[in-house]
């Protein structure tokens, strides 16, 4: 009798342990599933930085339907092209680590200015950066935003140069070209590799204007089409019409000197990187 009781108790204990382990395993699996779902959500949000949310979803859908080609739509957007002056010469004489330090700081200055003014960095082309305004979401203030971003880059590079000089490193100079017009915006590329881009005349002209900054000895040039859309508070200096490659007519440009009464709402410094630790209600 005692033996039977002991055996029953042992079996019950073994079963209880097995059940407990099973329950723990199920709980762990559930936790992992939740973490995976959160990771996926996080990934989708991260992808939204590269392309609009709708585009990311269609990209996900295209992933399981490889026959679907790239999608794009006609949009009115502003293209800003920025490039480092004398980068090739600099890259030949500097150590790679120093070059990397300098160029990464420059990328940061430019990207921050674009983000701050509701733009979107399209791509890095060597030391050049193409940014778009109004290509993702409708933005009726895209021309002013782009020129304000250019002015912010000018100020930011000035501060960055002071920092480089303090460290005994060579300083940098930039050239910026801006134009607005219709183009094609969307996920462009081959089936294997696509990126969100805006293509068309404004991007080409912005690149040419950027090169023209060397000719006119300045750092920010905008096109005639863009000037007509700009806030009259911007101080502009007209430049003589100049022939540029790829355009039949000489191009009229304007140097952006500044703004007569610039009012903007600066972002306050970050109070917390993540807010899981935010205060209780």
């Amino acid at each position: 009798m005692m033996l039977a009781l002991a055996m029953s108790a042992t079996i019950a204990a073994v079963l209880a342990v097995a059940l407990y382990r099973q329950w723990q395993r199920a709980r762990n699996l559930q936790r992992q599933l939740r973490a995976a779902a959160a990771d996926l959500e996080h990934l989708q949000k991260a992808c939204a930085r590269l392309a609009p949310a709708g585009v990311v979803q269609s990209l996900v859908a295209d992933g399981i339907r490889p026959d679907v080609g790239p999608t794009a739509e006609r949009k009115l957007a502003t293209a800003l092209f920025v490039d480092l002056v004398g980068f090739t010469a600099m890259s030949e004489r500097l150590e790679p680590e120093i070059l990397l330090r300098i160029i990464n700081g420059y990328y940061q200055c430019v990207s921050d200015a674009v983000d701050e003014h509701r733009g979107h960095v399209g791509s890095y082309v060597g030391d050049g950066i193409v940014a778009y305004f109004g290509a993702i979401q409708p933005n009726p203030w895209q021309c002013d935003d782009a020129v304000r971003a250019a002015l912010a880059m000018r100020a930011s590079i000035r501060d960055y140069n002071a920092e480089l000089a303090r460290e005994g490193l060579p300083t940098v100079a930039i050239g910026i070209g801006i134009d607005q017009g219709p183009g094609l915006a969307g996920l462009l590329g081959s089936r294997a590799r696509r990126e969100y881009a805006f293509i068309g005349r404004p991007v080409n002209l912005a690149a040419r204007l950027q090169a023209l900054t060397r000719v006119h000895g300045t750092d920010i040039l905008v096109s005639e089409a863009l000037r007509t859309e700009l806030d009259p508070g911007f101080i502009l200096t007209p430049m003589p019409a100049t022939a540029v490659k790829g355009f039949a007519e000489p191009v009229v440009t304007y140097i952006v000197e500044g703004h007569s009464a610039h009012v903007d709402i600066a972002e306050a410094p970050k109070t917390s990187a993540r807010s899981s630790r935010d205060s209780s209600a």
């Binding site: 939740r34 779902a37 959160a38 409708p138 508070g233 306050a268």
Partner: protein, 362 residues
């Protein structure tokens, strides 16, 4: 219960909670539970009342089924990355007795096995949040094709617009979301869940037909009239009337905020509504044109200039960046002014999206 938005960066709260017994009692009477978050809005009573009065859960919907409305609120809050409203809606569903697994299934099935009508309503909510009124025509056609009647479509437009309003009202000041996110995991709420469920159920109600007491005369009166016969008309009418009458910002400044948001959303019907009201305030056409084109004009005073610029930031946003910009206003405005800016910009975002759908196509 892990929230999908817990990774979204959220600044520390911009305003201090200020208890107000009368307003808190009002909220408790309507919802059955303490609504501590309205303490952040009490310096501007119309806003504190609006977050309660306009909530689609309490006696406003007559035609749209409540489950679709709940789902819309959840999805639009997620689209707008509003941690507070998303957590609040999840907690509400949980409090109503829905299991964690069921809520997760609802979220996961959004792109798959939904009924065509529900899927169309959710697609509309997403479109309004992502693209705005520019896509209202197509979204309206899709809703009709899915079998929704005119009255149901108006209630869908209302639910989405009010969620857009609530999302901004809680995101801009960064109302703490963590307590709500944690609630379903805490011992006491779990223990009291059946009681919470009963209280919520008792206070949750369907709308009853209600005549519009008097024709409104303020801007967007046409929108209110479109909801005549529904309790939405009087709730929305009262909120709008109190908002226009509130003294912390000038009526002109509020109209300019509406005008900028309507322009950013490319909502033509709203633009007409606002232009007429601004003309009545003495703002001439060239000045308005300049404000709408460049967000500035010499005729604007310092606060107007600051707030038209801020208004455009609320149309499309990243929560933390918007919260930092709002913090930038704090030194230049009084607390009631700051809270009223939050209320007016949030309401304008909802109203402009609703206006395009209900008053006509943009």
């Amino acid at each position: 219960m892990a929230s999908a938005l817990e990774h979204v960066a959220w600044e520390t709260c911009l305003v201090d909670p200020q208890p107000d017994r009368a307003l808190e009692a009002y909220a408790r009477r309507k919802t059955g539970i303490p609504v501590r978050s309205i303490r952040y809005f009490t310096p501007v009573p119309w806003l504190a009342r609006a977050v309660i009065d306009l909530h689609p859960e309490y006696g406003l919907l007559m035609h749209l089924d409540q489950n679709t409305a709940d789902l819309l609120t959840l999805i639009v809050s997620r689209e707008n990355s509003c941690r507070f409203c998303y957590a609040a809606q999840r907690a509400l569903l949980w409090g109503q007795g829905m299991s964690e697994a069921h809520i997760q299934r609802l979220e996961q099935e959004l792109s798959a096995a939904l009924a065509p009508r529900t899927a169309a309503a959710i697609a509309f909510g997403r479109t309004q949040s992502r693209v705005g009124p520019a896509a209202a025509g197509d979204a309206r056609a899709a809703l009709r094709n899915a079998g929704f009647g005119e009255e149901e479509m108006k209630e869908i437009a209302f639910t989405v617009a009010v969620t857009d309003f609530l999302n901004r009202a809680h995101t801009i000041p960064a109302i703490p979301a963590r307590p709500l996110e944690r609630m379903p995991d805490q011992f006491l709420p779990r223990l009291l869940r059946p009681i919470i469920n009963r209280i919520i159920e008792r206070h949750r109600s369907r709308g009853q037909s209600a005549p519009l007491e008097r024709a409104p005369s303020h801007p967007y009166a046409r929108l209110i009239e479109r909801y005549a016969g529904s309790p939405i008309a009087s709730a929305l009418g009262r909120t709008m009337e109190e908002m226009w009458a509130s003294p912390h910002l000038t009526r002109r400044c509020k109209l300019l905020i509406f005008a900028v948001i309507a322009r950013g959303l490319a909502c033509d019907v709203c633009a007409v509504e606002i232009r007429n009201a601004l003309e009545a305030e003495g703002l001439n056409e060239p000045t308005l044109a300049r404000v709408l084109t460049h967000l500035d004009a010499p005729e604007l005073d310092e606060i107007d200039r600051l707030l038209v610029r801020f208004a455009r930031e609320t149309i499309w946003f990243d929560p933390a960046a918007l919260q930092r910009r709002a913090r930038g206003l704090r030194d230049r405005l009084s607390v009631p002014q700051l809270i009223e800016v939050i209320g007016v910009t949030s309401l304008a975002n909802g109203i402009c999206r609703m206006g395009a759908m209900v008053m006509g196509h943009s």
